[in-house]
């Protein structure tokens, strides 16, 4: 017969603890009391069963220990009696380890921060409430309050993004627009890295990328340069961000998107888009002085030549031309629309062979050569800058990209009236050629803040930005259909609708397969320049262009 194990009478201390286990309110009272140093006797209720099957002696006022000690110690002493020293030490070690681990995780807060930025605040609070309510009410409230504070702090955490830009772009107009962005995104600071100009930009960008100091966005001529940077891993595709945020990229002109696409991925926001050198501007007052009507958008190439010959003058009969007919944008870019208008292309379908010695290519070079050497309506390269000639009234017409129309109109408004006209249609095809270009904004692969940088790019690509920038003095209303077609733009710049109409069918540049456009451009410019100077004839120039460019096309990918 087994003897029942004698029940050890509960000591007063143990009783207190056990009672505390079952009485959270009492435990809290004991805890809060322990924080004060005036020990108070704990009044236990009579009807609380301390141990199952046992009826505890109704308690009177019990004092656990000597009243000289604080109650926290009383509680500690009670705990010590419950636990063995070994268990206590093990528990203390675990607690210390926990504290240590907790202390070693400073990023935990940041993690919460990042998550809470994505999930709404309310949800977090609700979840925490549900979770904590199961325990004690008081603690729950404390916890919720703490979490809320952390979330609010996270949302306001400031992030600085650094667009790598050019002094030409980050001007007063841009500074006037920036408050709008900062207002929308108060946690994003924008500190531009300003590079002086176009020629320094690629060098600076490459050096900064190599040194891992490149900023968050880059901006440049759309097309080959972006392809090169994407190929070298300097800029990143934007497809995922567009998809995730539902950014309306279809609002941009197709050729702008095409010029910003590399291997099927969009790598830039085509913020500024235009169809290339398709619309020369001219000194309208000069025509009035000569008794000529302004050219219409339907003029043909013969009329174009007649105008140029009529306005080209030797005013003082010293055998030197004083007023030139036209100054054209040279290089591949300047001739491309005309090449296309004549039915030609720069490369074959795979962009591995140059086709400039085709009939269309030869015709394009011949037309340009005639302006310099046959009709002598174009000043030779190396002399006074064409812009300077135009501004001083020594040149009637300038064939540049449409970005220059507005800037030159503004620059000459006190001197004479500048108007624009669409290039005459090709005598061969009856069409106007195009070559879409402009400025695109890209995100670098080195950015630490893709979300914030994407916010900035979306803002740059917004309709608001396109229109406001134009009204602030930018040269075009951007790259969107809803900015080019906006009534406020047409009101300020009526010719914009002509450009917008051409943009609807404009085509992007072709890029060489190995992306060695820079080398090709250099070779092209040198040969073209010799042709303009009359050192070589157009047919020889065409053959030399093809020979030299084919050599570059045989080289490996850049």
């Amino acid at each position: 017969m087994t003897q029942p194990e004698p029940t050890r009478p509960a000591s007063p201390d143990r009783r207190i603890v056990r009672n505390l286990e079952h009485r959270p309110a009492l435990a809290f009272q004991a805890f809060t009391t322990s924080l004060g140093h005036v020990p108070k006797a704990v009044k236990l209720r009579d009807d609380v069963p301390v141990q199952q099957g046992r009826k505890e002696t109704p308690a009177k006022t019990v004092h656990p220990r000597d009243t000289r000690y604080p109650c926290a110690l009383c509680l500690g002493g009670a705990i010590m009696q419950l636990l063995s020293r070994r268990k206590f030490l093990a528990g203390a070690e675990l607690a210390a380890a926990g504290v240590l681990l907790g202390a070693c995780q400073p990023k935990v807060v940041e993690k919460i921060v990042k998550e809470t930025v994505v999930v709404t605040e309310e949800r977090v609070v609700e979840v925490e409430k549900e979770k904590v309510v199961k325990e004690t009410v008081v603690v729950t409230e404390e916890k919720v309050v703490k979490e809320t504070v952390v979330v609010e702090k996270a949302v306001k955490e400031t992030v600085t993004i650094m667009p790598v830009t050019m002094a030409y772009y980050w001007d007063d107009a841009m500074n006037a627009l920036m408050p709008n962005f900062l207002e929308q995104f108060p946690h994003i600071k924008v500190e531009p890295i300003v590079v002086p100009g176009w020629s320094e930009y690629p060098v600076k960008l490459m050096a900064m990328h190599a040194a891992a100091t490149l900023g968050d966005t880059v901006e440049y001529d759309m097309g080959w340069q972006f392809m090169e940077w994407a190929h070298k891993g300097i800029i990143r595709p934007l497809d995922n961000l567009i998809e995730a945020t539902g950014f309306d990229i279809d609002m941009f002109y197709p050729s702008g998107r095409e010029a910003s696409t590399f291997q099927g991925h969009l790598i830039a926001i085509p913020e500024d888009t235009h169809p290339g050198c398709v619309a020369p501007y001219y000194n309208a007052d000069m025509l009035g002085e000569l008794g000529l009507d302004p050219p219409s958008n339907d003029w043909d190439y013969a009329e174009y030549l007649q105008y140029l010959q009529k306005v080209t003058q030797d005013t003082n009969n010293d055998g030197q031309t004083d007023i030139w007919g036209i100054g054209c944008h040279s290089s591949i870019k300047g001739l491309y629309p005309e090449l296309r208008a004549n039915g030609g292309t720069m490369y074959d379908a795979e962009a591995r062979k140059c086709l400039y010695n085709s009939e269309a290519g030869l015709m394009t070079l011949k037309n340009r050569y005639d302006l310099f050497q046959t009709y002598k309506v174009h000043p030779l390269p190396g002399g006074e800058a064409y812009d300077s000639l135009y501004r001083s009234g020594k040149m009637w017409m300038r064939l540049m990209t449409p970005t220059h129309i507005m800037s030159m109109t503004t620059a000459t408004k006190d001197l004479f009236r500048t108007e624009a006209v669409v290039m005459p249609k090709s005598t061969k095809t009856g069409e106007i050629g195009t070559a879409t270009t402009g400025i695109g904004y890209c995100m670098t692969t080195l950015t630490k803040y893709p979300e914030e940088t994407w916010d900035f790019l979306q803002w740059i690509g917004s309709q608001w930005y396109g229109l406001e920038a134009f009204h602030q003095g930018f040269t075009t209303p951007g790259g969107r259909k809803d900015t080019w077609g906006d009534a406020s733009v047409a009101e300020q710049w009526p010719f914009a609708k002509e450009i917008a109409a051409i943009l609807e069918y404009s085509e992007a540049y072709e890029n060489p397969w190995n992306l060695r456009h820079q080398e090709i451009q250099r070779v092209f410019n040198e040969i073209e320049s010799r042709m303009y100077l009359g050192e070589i004839q157009p047919d020889e120039a065409a053959d030399t262009i093809v020979t030299e460019i084919d050599k570059i096309l045989e080289m490996p990918m850049i």
Partner: protein, 317 residues
């Protein structure tokens, strides 16, 4: 005597190589003082030079890691690149005119200043001023002076009935124009001062001896001055050849190598390959090739200098 020698060596302790403690300390201190310079030389010169040589065997665009190509870059520059030899030819054309004309003109200027005439100090300052003008500023000023239609030079020529050339805008005239700019900046510069120092170092008694022998000015110049300043002449010649072959700034700033390729000198071509096309490997190969060319010319100069350079106190066998 013995006591002194003991004190200087044995007493202060003789270490390795028999150096005294003081000597050792001096050596250590000397090297410590040199260390910053040595580190600078190593980090900023020696290692980059070595690295550039390694790059000559690679395709390197500064973004991705270099790709080993073997001697492909050298093969390309020697056999395939149609820009290398014309640009080298232009560079030599420039140097062949610039070096002798510049040397003679600088020597003449130095001789003038060595006449101890009134106002020599002022003239020396005026002659030296162009050297102090920043090369880029000088290039732009000269570009405007030589402007075919609006330039001051053509205007002055037109005043006397001459139709001026296109200068930097004309293929034929662009390099001669740059020579003029180079001579303007180079004649009265450091080279002239070195010649002046050389001339002032010629002993007067040699001229007196020559005069006693009945030598006239020309004879004195030919038989006393020239031999005595021949080491200075050699020094200036070597520096002049190297400097002329490295012509870059004027072509880069004033013409960008144009019109066409008419002023694309070799250094400009290296620059383009490096910083326009980012073909660092190929640009390094071009640079090392050019180094070999300059080194060969310098060695040739040294080799033939034995025939015309006279060093005072030298014993000829």
């Amino acid at each position: 005597m013995t006591a002194i020698s003991q004190r200087s060596t044995g007493a202060s302790g003789t270490g390795i190589f028999g150096w005294s403690r003081l000597r050792r300390r001096e050596i250590v201190n000397g090297y410590l003082y040199m260390t910053p310079w040595l580190i600078g030389l190593l980090v900023f010169y020696f290692i980059p030079i070595l690295w550039s040589f390694i790059l000559t065997f690679t395709d390197y665009n500064i973004v991705r890691a270099p790709i080993f190509l073997g001697i492909a870059n050298y093969k390309r520059l020697l056999l395939e690149d149609s820009y290398v030899w014309p640009s080298l030819y232009r560079t030599f054309y420039y140097a062949i005119v610039m070096v002798p004309v510049g040397l003679i003109a600088s020597l003449l200027a130095a001789m003038l200043l060595n006449q101890h005439l009134n106002g020599t100090t002022w003239f020396r300052t005026f002659f030296f001023l162009p050297t102090l003008t920043p090369a880029v500023a000088a290039a732009f000023i000269w570009k405007w002076l030589m402007h075919p239609e609006m330039g001051l030079i053509n205007y002055l020529l037109w005043q006397v009935g001459i139709k001026g050339p296109g200068w930097m805008s004309a293929t034929r005239w662009v390099i001669p124009s740059m020579m003029i700019v180079g001579l303007w900046g180079g004649i009265g510069g450091t080279r002239m001062l070195i010649f002046l120092a050389g001339l002032q170092g010629v002993p007067q008694e040699l001229y007196e001896a020559a005069e006693i022998d009945g030598a006239n000015s020309w004879h004195k110049f030919l038989n006393v001055t020239l031999p005595m300043i021949s080491p200075t002449f050699l020094f200036n010649l070597i520096l002049g050849v190297i400097g002329a072959l490295q012509v870059f700034t004027i072509a880069f700033t004033a013409t960008d190598g144009g019109p066409g390729t008419a002023s694309t000198f070799f250094t400009l071509y290296i620059y383009r390959q490096a910083f326009e096309f980012f073909s660092m490997g190929y640009a390094s190969a071009l640079a090392w090739f050019f180094l070999v060319v300059i080194l060969a010319l310098t060695l040739l100069n040294f080799h033939f200098s034995g025939r015309w350079v006279y060093y005072e106190g030298e014993v000829r066998r």
